[in-house]
């Protein structure tokens, strides 16, 4: 690596601005180049580190591309059967109510085979966090059509585009669960640009903090790319996502809790709860 002598003076421990969090292991992730899973894993790990809950967090890994998530997160994790992560998280949270519990699911896991578990867990108002990665395709198995595939979107099982008359309409899980009384925080974010990553990180942090409210599920959807499934380069897939996915899956908070957390003085954990995102650039890393 070519480095000037001046940059060698800067690269010192005391000048560190940003380094990969220690909650992530050093294993190289198996994801394709540019995949949003890697960024989202890192955000979850950073939030866990920031809140200081590494030993109090239990994650539930799904089936899908992120099935090996437990190899990358240095926390307690449990692998669930396909789509059953909310059911397993329900059990964990009820047995260990003082722990922070989250599930990490893709759209094939959460919106197809696990629709029933997701909706019923949200309707029961369990107190855990669901992180939902929506890339509109079954990435791991070879790019088949998913319930979240956009109308007229080409996949390997809809080579002429999704015909909504024959295959039905895409499922907006996030809007669906927002109508249920058992959810307290429902939001949709993305991780394709620095500003969006900062917003998504804030949303994930809030989602973890809202577990203390005991008002129900906090649900964070991350609209992500799938460069391999969409058969594009990572940059092209991000552009395609902005042009096509965002009009159908608009970003932003869909439901925020009405009752605010009682603020304790000097309590960093709760200070950000009552602030609504106005300027994402002010988030400190």
């Amino acid at each position: 690596m070519a480095e000037t002598s001046s940059s060698n003076d800067i690269v010192r421990e005391e000048n560190l601005v940003y380094a990969k969090t220690k909650v992530l292991t050093d294993n190289v992730m198996h994801y394709c180049p540019g995949c949003g899973h890697g960024t989202t894993h890192r955000l979850v790990a950073e939030v866990i580190e920031e809140l200081g809950i590494q030993s109090d967090t239990i994650g539930v890994a799904p089936v899908g591309c992120s099935v090996l998530m437990y190899n990358y997160m240095d926390i307690d994790m449990q692998e669930a059967a396909h789509g059953r992560a909310p059911a397993l998280a329900t059990a964990i949270k009820r047995l260990l109510p003082e722990k922070y519990v989250f599930t990490y699911q893709g759209d094939g896991d959460l919106a197809a085979i696990g629709t029933s578990e997701t909706i019923h867990a949200c309707n029961r108002g369990e107190n855990f966090t669901i992180i939902f990665i929506n890339n509109g395709i079954y990435g791991m198995t070879g790019g088949q059509m998913a319930p979240t595939t956009l109308p007229n979107m080409k996949t390997s099982t809809s080579p002429y585009g999704r015909d909504v008359k024959m295959m039905g309409n895409p499922l907006k899980m996030t809007e669906l669960v927002a109508t249920l009384p058992g959810t307290c925080f429902v939001t949709r974010q993305s991780v394709h640009s620095p500003a969006n990553v900062r917003k998504a990180r804030k949303a994930i942090k809030k989602a973890f903090e809202y577990q203390n409210l005991k008002q129900g599920i906090s649900f964070v959807e991350i609209v992500s790319n799938c460069s391999s499934g969409w058969k594009m380069t990572p940059l092209q897939s991000n552009e395609w996502m902005v042009e096509n996915m965002f009009p159908f899956y608009p970003l932003g908070d869909i439901k925020i809790p009405e009752v605010q957390v009682e603020q304790k003085e000097g309590d960093v954990l709760h200070n950000s709860l009552n602030q609504i995102d106005k300027d994402s650039k002010q988030v400190k890393y």
């Binding site: 001046s6 003076d9 560190l16 992530l24 620095p194 990572p234 940059l235």
Partner: protein
């Protein structure tokens, strides 16, 4: 007047060459190398290290978390 100067260190063996950091850099510091790493990916490097401001945009969008960012403030005395 203080000038901010940054530096990035890329763990190039873990870089997968997705180029998302290249478009995220506001100062166009990062480029991809012509040579490849052990996995066969062209990896990111600081082509113009003097322009880096240490904003960490590249590091926070990196899906594989391979970029580490450092920053210092250089105090330049005013000439009267």
């Amino acid at each position: 007047m203080a000038k901010v100067k940054g530096a990035i260190v890329v763990d190039f063996e873990k870089c997968k060459g997705c180029e998302i950091c290249v478009v995220s850099c506001p100062a166009d510091v990062i480029e991809m190398t012509k040579e490849v790493n052990a996995k066969g990916y062209h990896f990111a490097y600081a082509a113009k290290p003097d322009d880096c401001t240490g904003c960490a945009n590249c590091a926070i969008v990196c899906p594989d978390g391979v970029i580490t960012v450092y920053k210092i403030k250089i105090v330049v005395e005013k000439i009267a």
